[in-house]
């Protein structure tokens, strides 16, 4: 059965940095800033450790969107892991496109540890974007 747009609940993987976005998410949680629940947060120590494999895996396993949250430039706990990831990002967009995923399904944002409201805002916004785009074509293009 094809789901109608309105009950399309996107599945979103958020790979987030322990020091900033993860803390901001926590802050959003404790300040009761609710954000859509269909985000699966995976804690990384730094965006620098995010292997392109993880992103591809997430898309191939059916994620409708992948969100990466890291420290603001200059703020990375490990000097510049965030910028190293940013460099990888361009390549990543190209790769997922080759696999048939719209590059807008992958989003990188800097969210500082004290930015609970920004976290909430970013999540809501990303979900909206994905909702507008509709389900990911992952099922159709699955390769073995």
């Amino acid at each position: 059965m094809v789901k109608s747009m309105s009950d399309f609940q996107p599945k979103i993987i958020a790979l987030v940095c322990n020091w900033c976005t993860y803390t901001a998410a926590d802050l959003a949680g404790t300040s009761r800033l609710s954000y859509p629940a269909n985000i699966r947060m995976i804690r990384m120590m730094c965006t620098g450790m995010i292997d392109p494999k993880y992103i591809l895996k997430a898309f191939l396993d059916g994620a409708d969107g992948v969100f990466i949250g890291g420290c603001h430039p200059g703020d990375c706990h490990y000097i510049n892991g965030n910028l190293k990831f940013k460099k990888r990002m361009a390549g990543m967009e190209a790769i997922i496109k080759q696999f048939g995923f719209d590059e807008n399904r992958l989003r990188l944002r800097w969210i500082g540890a004290s930015e609970g409201p920004e976290f909430q805002h970013n999540m809501t916004d990303f979900i909206q974007t994905i909702q507008d785009m509709g389900p990911s074509p992952a099922q159709g293009i699955m390769v073995l």
């Binding site: 993987i13 995976i42 620098g48």
Partner: protein, 980 residues
């Protein structure tokens, strides 16, 4: 009381945290107290700090042996194996002698049992009492039962018992019966305390009673700390920069400096040191938030940008961001006709009275003049940080706190008190066996029972593939509940544990306790926040959510492996380069802890600039250090010697020394302190040649000659900032203003009739040295400010030396015929090229050694095991150099005091069999933690330097590098489960 603490740290602000961490890292048991119900002090109110406008407090966390503390935002809380944090607790009496003190403290009742409170907020919803929100500068309201710091972890409530009406509503709704309004304060006695660090801060001035500013009368006049709250997303307006009266964004904002500081009338004859930079930062944020056309004006007397990189920060604010700087003490703030606006009247540069209208005014407040030190402060065995008597910026507080830690460690070791060796539970044999997971469903004192039962979680969990046992506990937070779990882990087959409980950050410290008794490493345990998931109202499919999370974590745990742990022995010798006050202090700090020190000095004598120093006090201080170091059996000195090579990793370095005669020596050491110092800058090449025009240093030397007759030195002009604070040497040298003042006063002493003029840009008499400035003015010394672009001119006319300037007070040009013109030429670092390349550390554009982080890790360099202090790092006074030396010594001691360093569970490791030696990981590693071992032909990871950031693993084309705790299959499985 059965506290194992042998050190107490009073005050859990930035200094207290630094000191507690220092001592905990040396292995001492520390109890960190604060009378406030939350830790963090003033810092909790500051989201971002200059000069990089971010927060980096997490960089203070231990850099190695990181498994000892939770790796998590330090603003939210601190969890370290050796530190116990006690809040709402105030010390009232101290007895006994260093090494064996008894401390009495009172723990205030907060009305809430912290062990039971689950932070559910039900109480806050029903509390009928609203009071001004003190955390947010009273710009909003809070309930009588509240969270002391909105983002703190754990997020347990406290009750403001003064405001509480004891209506009992909260007691009724609390699901865990955590509230007890009848509780009374408890007296705690700590026995057997080795020493106490006093780091209680200086408080913050309250300008409420200063009529001229209208604080309290006009809502749009706020203090700088209130402005920080307005900027903060956890603040009263959720981070929108709006003004209190009408909640509109202000278009014109004024900052008024020195409110309550530099004001002898109210007992504040000091400078609070950090406010100038704070105001510039705030002005920059205002522009960033509200747009660059926002008008920001800073009214100041002197912009005290005396830190190494601060002048450039100010210049950038002025030139690139158009922050306006107006030099004056304002006359008053009054309401303007327009609703809420403020009229600020002052006298401008040309002597004209001006009335300017602003939408909002920020009062830059600092140290509280009324704050007194507690009675016990002078008790032997108590060592106070400088930050209890002076307001200072974070970097200085951190240095001072580490300096105090060093003194305390020295005191303890001379009293024969050693840190206890920690017994770690041996790894349980089970761990190596095939994965078997114990899931513990915590009902959180019954409050999650419904969720667990309705969803039949136990039954659902059985469906996860793999060996899984399930148990339900009433509350793992209770000792009883935790014992139950221990029992099962000790006797059952499980070797991995997954809790479904509350917030992971709150819960994790408990995992450590469990790990210690069960021998199952804490990396083999995890937590899912069942409570959080349940509360998230947006959830459509609660069971799906919960199971998903549990399965994600279970998969990760199933994949966990024990990482091969290399244990590295430590070479217990330190190498100190430079023998000025900083280097000597570092050497002595280490030698006092039984570490051998090799002290290398390039010149033929030790003491740095000792020969050029005339200040009796400073001479005595350095002289003493020199004598102590010369006599110390553990310190070996090499003068006329340079370090020409250094290789290896922290704990195991090899250095090569070259002596003046060409001979070379090899030194094996575990850590190095760079203290290569600096010295006076030469006068600019275009200085007129006349023996009346001399450097400040030369005038100082002249006046200190024995038997000097100053009778015919009748007019002297001092000129500040010669070559300093403008490109290419755009930094404040920090010592010249004070030196000019002291020299001028000496002159007045020798010849009371001497007329003295000081041309200055900004008098940098920060902190307590402001008193010299006040005294100098009282003695009739005339101070004339000038701007960088309108420097006074020095001329020679028929043998007479004339200084032509402009006096803004008289509002006319002045021309002074001088018997001496003393030029304050400032400080420059000694050349550091060789030392920087030898030790692979970065330098600044001005030729100083770059520290790892100017605020949070001021004496570390980017390379673990290499430290920097004193003039090599930036301009400092001699007493500050001593503090930095001690701090650097202490940082090195963290490594050198150990016999071995174990690899962290979070460090990277290499699967050599599939490594292609492409060395890409070496190139990307931000900590220089990787190298090729030429003998083995392998890539090696230095577990001390490795911080576990994982950049290597992400870049490795072969998947040969793995991170202990973030091993890739685990992450892949977690992703799979998440989408399952």
């Amino acid at each position: 009381m059965n506290q194992p603490a042998n050190i107490l740290v009073i005050g859990a602000g930035i200094s207290g945290i630094r000191s507690a961490l220092d001592l905990a890292e040396l292995g001492y048991k520390v109890c960190l107290l604060d009378r406030a119900p939350a830790m963090g002090g003033i810092l909790t109110r500051l989201d971002r700090q200059f000069p990089n406008n971010h927060c980096g407090i997490c960089r203070m966390l231990p850099m190695f042996d990181r498994d000892n503390s939770e790796e998590f935002c330090l603003r939210k809380g601190l969890s370290h194996e050796n530190i116990e944090v006690l809040l709402s607790t105030e010390v009232i009496a101290v007895e006994g002698n260093p090494g064996n003190m008894t401390v009495t403290a009172v723990k205030q009742a907060t009305g809430v049992d912290a062990d039971r409170c689950i932070g559910c907020q039900e109480c806050e919803k029903v509390c009928p009492v609203e009071v001004p929100d003190t955390f947010n500068a009273e710009l909003g309201k809070r309930k009588a039962i509240y969270l002391a710091v909105p983002y703190q972890m754990p997020n347990q409530r406290v009750i403001d018992l003064q405001a509480c009406t004891r209506c009992g509503e909260c007691v009724k709704v609390c699901p865990t019966a955590a509230i007890d309004l009848e509780r009374t304060p408890e007296t705690l006695t700590f026995e057997n305390i080795g020493g106490v660090v006093l780091a209680s801060g200086t408080g913050l001035f309250n300008p409420q009673d200063m009529d001229i500013y209208g604080m309290g009368h006009f809502p749009n006049v706020v203090t700088s700390s209130a402005f920080e709250r307005i900027l903060s997303s956890s603040g009263p307006y959720q981070g929108s920069l709006i003004r209190p009266s009408d909640q509109h964004p202000p278009k014109k904002i004024a900052w008024i400096q020195c409110v309550g500081s530099r004001n002898p009338m109210i007992g504040a004859d000091y400078c609070s040191s950090a406010c100038c930079m704070i105001s510039i930062k705030q002005a920059l944020f205002a522009k960033e938030r509200l747009g660059s056309d926002t008008q920001t004006t800073i009214f100041y007397m002197d912009m005290r940008t005396f830190g190494r990189d601060y002048q450039r920060y100010r210049d950038q604010a002025e030139k690139e961001n158009n922050v306006a700087f107006v030099r004056c003490r304002i006359h008053s703030i009054e309401p303007n006709e327009e609703e809420g606006n403020l009229k600020i009247s002052y006298v401008d540069h040309s002597g004209k009275p001006v009335n300017a209208v602003f939408d909002m005014a920020v009062l830059a407040t600092g140290k509280d003049p009324l704050r007194k030190l507690p009675d016990f402060a002078a008790h032997p065995g108590i060592i106070a940080t400088d930050a209890v008597s002076e307001w200072m910026d974070i970097g200085s507080s951190v240095v001072s706190a580490s300096g105090v830690s060093e003194r305390l460690a020295r005191m303890l070791s001379s009293a024969g008190i050693k840190p206890e060796k920690q017994a770690t539970a041996p790894l349980s044999d089970k761990v190596a066996g095939s994965p078997h997971l114990q899931v513990v469903l915590c009902s959180c004192n019954g409050s999650l029972d419904k969720v667990i039962e309705e969803n039949q979680l136990a039954a659902e969990l059985k469906k996860i593939p793999g060996r899984i046992d399930i148990m339900q506990a009433k509350s793992v937070c209770d000792a009883e509940g935790l014992d139950q779990v221990k029992e099962i882990l000790l006797n059952g087959p499980a070797n991995r544990v997954l809790f479904a409980a509350c917030n992971a950050q709150v819960f994790r410290p408990k995992l450590k306790q469990l790990a210690a008794v069960t021998g199952i490493p804490k990396e083999f345990m995890d937590v899912v926040n069942l409570r959080g998931l349940t509360e998230n109202a947006a959830s459509h499919d609660l069971l799906g959510e919960i199971m998903n999370q549990l399965e994600m974590r279970a998969n990760r745990l199933f994949r966990k492996k024990i990482t091969p742990a290399d244990v590295r022995p430590i070479q217990k010798t330190a190498l100190v380069i430079g023998s000025g006050p900083a280097g000597l202090s570092a050497a002595l700090a280490l030698a006092a802890q039984n570490i051998k020190v090799v002290l290398v000095e390039k010149k033929e004598t030790i003491g740095g600039n000792f020969a050029n120093i005339h200040d009796a006090q400073i001479r005595e201080m350095i002289g003493q250090l020199m004598d102590e170091a010369k006599d110390h059996p553990l310190i070996t000195m090499h003068t006329d010697t340079e370090v020409i090579n250094n290789a290896g990793v922290a704990g195991q370095f090899v250095a090569r020394l070259r002596h003046a005669n060409g001979a070379e020596t090899t030194v094996l050491h575990g850590a190095a302190v760079i203290a290569t110092g600096g010295g006076k800058a030469d006068l600019p090449a275009d200085t007129l040649a006349d023996n009346k025009i001399i450097s400040l240093y030369d005038l100082e030397a002249e006046l200190n000659q024995p038997g000097i007759d100053a009778a015919n030195i009748n007019t002297v002009v001092f000129m500040q900032c010669i070559g300093s604070r403008e490109e290419p040497r755009n930094y404040c040298s920090r010592i010249c203003c004070l030196k000019s003042l002291k020299t001028a006063m000496k002159l007045k002493e020798l010849n009371p009739n001497c007329d003295i003029y000081v041309f200055y840009r900004d008098m940098m008499t920060y902190g307590e040295s402001e008193k010299f400035y006040t005294q100098a003015r009282a003695k009739g010394i005339i101070f004339i400010p000038f701007e960088k672009q309108e420097k006074p001119a020095i001329k020679i006319e028929s043998g007479r030396v004339l200084v032509e300037g402009y006096d803004p007070v008289l509002n006319e040009p002045v021309c002074i015929e001088a018997d001496r013109v003393a030029l304050a030429s400032g400080l420059i670092p000694n050349p550091v090229d060789l030392v920087a390349s030898t030790f692979h550390v970065e330098t600044t554009q001005d030729g100083f050694i770059q520290e790892a982080d100017s605020k949070w890790r001021p004496v570390d360099t980017g390379r673990e095991g290499i430290f920097v202090c004193g003039l090599a790092r930036g301009p400092v006074r001699a007493d500050e150099a001593v503090q930095e030396g001690k701090a650097a010594g202490l940082r090195a001691l963290r490594i050198l005091a150990r016999d071995t360093i174990p690899a962290s569970q979070h460090s990277a490791y290499v699967r050599h069999a599939i490594c292609s030696l492409c060395e890409r990981c070496i190139a990307v590693c931000p900590f220089d933690a990787r190298y090729v071992d030429p003998d083995l032909g392998r890539i090696m990871v230095d577990p001390v330097a490795c911080q576990g950031c994982g950049v290597c693993a992400a870049e490795c084309p072969n998947g040969a590098t793995l991170i202990g705790d973030f091993e890739e299959y685990g992450v892949m499985d977690e992703i799979e489960a998440a989408l399952g």
